[in-house]
Symmetry: C2
């Protein structure tokens, strides 16, 4: 590998990259190499115009009439349907609503209701904290003897007590990815439902929820979908489960006839019942632009480029910063990871600060993890070269020591 690792070789890869034109769809500051799309995707150029249109023309001119005239009322299902194609869900499975945390709560409660004789929510210790918090919050609310069991190897811990196996598909720190099909099969073999958090997968790796027989899923709109800060989240429910789905948050927009203003709740057919309150139209408008853009890019090409960028990043760090104490946390096997790469380093925070000061934006996760998201829609091969060159410079010049000093001074 090393022999090919020159900046010129990476420039050649960019010239040959069929996905290269997608970069021009984003507003990216000229002085930044943006490797944090796994935390907040950048601004699609079309989103600025679309949001302005929704604000000025739709809200400003149509006012209340816009709910019908511009089909605001249809946004959650319409964007959900598009998202369903991105995640390989069956038609009519997917809805945009609320936040990932709220959607997790809704589907976890529904999963427990669907499995009245089972009492365990099984998950893994390294799951994103909010997933654990929400599961524990739910069991404490229910007070019916449910337990949240967080283990390092959840597949081995599957048994007939497990109501639902709740996992994040791609780990937020390491980028390691579960085998969705195999894990779902294992869960089904003991009669457990599966609930996948796709926050770090959607738009990053190929997903086939229907083919993999996934029961329930949630995910986030503001990472690889480039839906904007705090974009609404989504949820997906396999069609056979929808009719008996007992959701705990029964808001008026999930009613079969919201505008009948009936005193009794009667859930809408299908996934529409998972709506709760009035959807945030401005945020939805931005999300739709990101989703539409993602639908234009072939997922196979995105995934191939993503894994190539990861391979290059890892190889370059090992070539250029071999003596600097970085420990790779992300699997080397492309089939076992998402679109981000993570290294542990005891001075990770200071190193990331020094990198950001140089315009290379990744992020840091306590206690010692440097994360770099390599989103293939806009990250170039040459960006990987330049990012690692900046990392090398930070380590060689000791710039990170100054950053560490500043951090220590700020804390004390």
């Amino acid at each position: 590998v090393t022999a090919d690792l020159t900046r010129a070789a990476l420039e050649a890869l960019d010239r040959a990259d069929d996905l290269a034109p997608f970069r021009a769809e984003f507003d990216l500051p000229a002085d930044v190499i943006y490797l944090d799309g796994n935390s907040l995707g950048p601004l699609p150029k079309a989103a600025a115009a679309r949001v302005a249109e929704v604000v000025t023309r739709e809200w400003g001119t149509s006012l209340i009439r816009a709910w019908n005239a511009h089909d605001w009322i249809g946004l959650p299902l319409r964007i959900g349907e598009k998202l369903g194609r991105i995640i390989g869900a069956a038609p009519g499975s997917t809805l945009v609503a609320d936040s990932t945390s709220v959607n997790l709560f809704k589907l976890l409660a529904a999963a427990l209701a669907a499995q009245p004789k089972r009492h365990v929510i099984l998950t893994e210790t390294g799951n994103f904290p909010t997933d654990l918090y929400v599961a524990n919050g739910l069991t404490e609310l229910l007070r019916r003897g449910h337990a949240v069991r967080a283990v390092t190897d959840p597949v081995s811990a599957l048994n007939e007590d497990v109501a639902v196996l709740m996992l994040t598909h791609v780990n937020y720190r390491s980028g390691a990815m579960h085998d969705m099909a195999a894990v779902t099969r294992a869960a089904h073999a003991v009669g457990a439902l599966t609930l996948w958090d796709l926050s770090h997968s959607v738009g990053a790796v190929p997903l086939h929820l229907a083919d993999d027989n996934v029961d329930l899923a949630v995910g986030c709109g503001y990472k690889y979908l480039n839906g904007g800060p705090g974009a609404p989240a989504f949820l997906s429910v396999a069609p056979p489960l929808q009719a008996d789905l007992r959701l705990p948050l029964t808001g008026w927009l999930g009613h079969a006839e919201p505008f009948a203003f009936a005193p009794d709740y009667r859930p809408a057919d299908g996934i529409a019942r998972a709506m709760v309150g009035t959807p945030p139209v401005l945020s939805l408008a931005a999300l739709e632009v990101g989703v539409d853009l993602m639908l234009r890019a072939p997922m196979g090409a995105l995934s191939a480029k993503s894994q190539r960028l990861l391979d290059l990043f890892i190889a370059l760090v090992e070539q250029e910063c071999a003596e600097d104490g970085f420990r790779l946390l992300t699997p080397r096997d492309a089939a076992r990871r998402g679109s981000q790469v993570a290294f542990a380093h005891p001075d990770g925070y200071a190193i990331m600060q020094a990198l950001i000061a140089r315009g290379v934006i990744g992020d840091f996760r306590a206690p010692d993890v440097l994360r770099f998201g390599l989103a293939p829609m806009y990250v170039r091969h040459v960006d990987v070269w330049d990012a690692v060159a900046a990392l090398r410079e930070v380590m060689r010049t000791g710039a990170w020591r100054a950053a560490r000093f500043q951090v220590q001074r700020a804390v004390t």
Copy 2:
């Protein structure tokens, strides 16, 4: 009254109106008289620029750094604090988060947890349906013998079984308003908590949550606050209740240290614990503009003008449409109503469609209610004249019969 009811007299009132300049703060279509701000407030001119700035400059340029650089992370508490001033809540009581329905669920669950020996959620039959749905959904989830008791006179039904009295302050149909101080006193006399839904009050009538000893409140950002379609909602919790508040939705942003990514949930101090997921920044930006605008207008003057507009609207309908079969649903006593007026009419739907076709935008609520929101920030006295003149024309010309015919044809 009738002697003064000429268009010229109302123009004179507009000339003398200290609030008149606020109308210029809104983008209102020239061909519309907008009387539906109780459903969706119009666009404040500054909101378009502010949202564009957040999209283009903050998201586009600062990217992930905007969470700190532009204090996105502080938005829910910052806007909540401003909202707290509008509703007369104690400092540190109020947070912008989620939807009204989700916030109701959170606070109802917390109220039941705080009252473990009581089993009744008391409310009224005419409450907004989502409030009833959410309460019933919660009790069905808990399965611990809680009951939702909806009665026509909730104060008379107060007793020591009542954990929480949940009421909408201003009724969404009739516009009738509860006496918040007296009802709260009555609830406290039997040891019940109060949970007020302020969706049709906030920005419409003076509110004094702290003085009235209100325990819990929720409300909506997109009506009289002019926060934009689907604007985030808010909740407010009296400070003495906050420390022991057990909220059912324990998301990462309500954690004491969200970025420590600790495996166990530890709620943040104060009202911050009521945050759940990542807040929708674009929608929050628009809401803040509406809230800032509301803070600039003196509530006493707003309320006085609002009640004057209602009096005029009622007097004019009775003067101009006396024979047309409209039945007033809204109290005549200004102290007992919000900022909207409602009439029942068996052909209400067709009449409203004919009005809207003439640019007079109110709305219709099944089965027979015409609602007109008279938001004093931008509705002029002369608009009331012109709206009722349009109503008279619709009735005199029989235009509503054509609308009724179209409705019937569309349905069959």
